[in-house]
Symmetry: C2
């Protein structure tokens, strides 16, 4: 199964600790990785179809402390679509003058949505088809960029449709909010004052967040499985959609 | 003035020699850089709003021998638009299930094309406006991905419109071809058998391409100014459009 990681914060935050936790699971997910960092409206997008354990691109990402307030990362184990660069998540499209980033964990069976709009898949995954369909339907539902609440309302109507075809754990961000939809396996954590210490679940590495943060900082992290011990992760119910804005759950 | 670099080859080729030549001009173009590499339909896209001399992202690009058959790179000196990540070239959009990459050198005055289609600027440069307009007009002109010849014909009609507003040296690629439009300053070079040696014009570095190539390899390079000495660069006439496919000029 692929691994997802999302981060939403109220101040640009270094995601490296969480990405290291994700990348150390990469041996069993050797079919590519990707990570996208928003910096205001701008986006850095790094993908590779080599394992995050060995990719020089992952090496850069692990060592270069990019600070961002919205991050989506993905480590791939191919279920549909060849192992190729164009099939690496996260995928990016532009809508209403904003970049949108999407990553998916799961497998959609017999999923061939009608794509008649301006968004077409470049690769051959079920995931990119679902993303293009979501973008198309969002574009039809709103003439220009709506509020976070309106977007959430529309997404709540749309997400059950691809989810009917199989497992649809997904992360979506436009740089203003992080939408997370759980189908089988997704959990979230909110870090805020007073910050404590956490240890990566898979690797002998711990961080005392109290030393790296101010009392006003808030960070939400969403992942396929809890990345740390010593923190309270909350599991998504099947079909649950959560929205994170400024490092806290908005609904 | 910004610096452009484009490469089109008939076999995946290492662009590092040319990128080093471009990056060493970066001190006077300190407002960002970017480079996009096609690998078949997939795309790697690296941008930074820090100088290519000092950016860790540029360091990765210089040291990691990514091989590609279509590359567009840009080193920015801001004329319009703030120094921000969302204003870094090259820009990327998807059309007809293909990624399209665009970089521009120049300055368009009073350029506010009517954007009523599916492509909107994320940043605030004249360049991204021109790219969105080109994508919109290509999408209107063809229902699905046309041949290279048809695309060239449409581009030949479209390009004079933004070019009327100022300097419009530009590079465009969809991974199948490289379109280059000269307005004031652009030159091109085709390397093919028998390959000779070349020395970078700005840096004490030379490469004997004969040692790195096979007799069938063909590479076309387009740049703002000749990057090497000892090779014959051909300057574009004002308003000239050239198209490169498989490392050679198609028209």
């Amino acid at each position: 199964m692929c691994q997802l990681l999302g981060m939403n914060a109220n101040t640009p935050t270094d995601v490296m600790f969480s990405f290291t936790g994700l990348a150390c699971r990469a041996d069993e997910h050797k079919d590519g990785f990707g990570i996208a960092f928003f910096e205001n409206r701008g986006l850095r997008h790094f993908i590779d179809h080599h394992s995050a354990r060995h990719s020089p691109v992952a090496g850069l990402v692990k060592n270069y402390p990019i600070k961002s307030d919205n991050v989506i990362a993905h480590i791939r184990k191919a279920t549909q679509g060849r192992v190729a660069l164009e099939n690496a998540h996260p995928f990016v499209r532009e809508l209403w003058g904003r970049y949108w980033v999407f990553a998916h964990n799961g497998d959609l069976k017999d999923y061939a949505p009608r794509l008649h709009g301006a968004f077409r898949p470049v690769g051959d995954t079920d995931s990119e088809r679902a993303f293009c369909w979501l973008m198309q339907e969002l574009a039809k539902a709103h003439a220009s960029v709506p509020s976070i609440d309106e977007l959430t309302h529309t997404l709540r109507e749309l997400l059950p449709q691809p989810a009917r075809h199989g497992t649809f754990n997904m992360l979506l961000s436009n740089g203003q909010a992080l939408w997370a939809h759980g189908s089988t396996k997704l959990c979230a954590l909110e870090r805020r004052h007073p910050f404590g210490a956490a240890t990566l679940a898979d690797e002998d590495l711990s961080v005392d967040f109290g030393q790296h943060t101010t009392p006003n900082d808030r960070v939400a992290v969403v992942a396929t499985e809890p990345l740390t011990t010593g923190e309270r992760w909350s599991a998504f119910a099947p079909g649950e959609l959560r929205v994170f804005v400024d490092g806290a759950r908005a609904c």
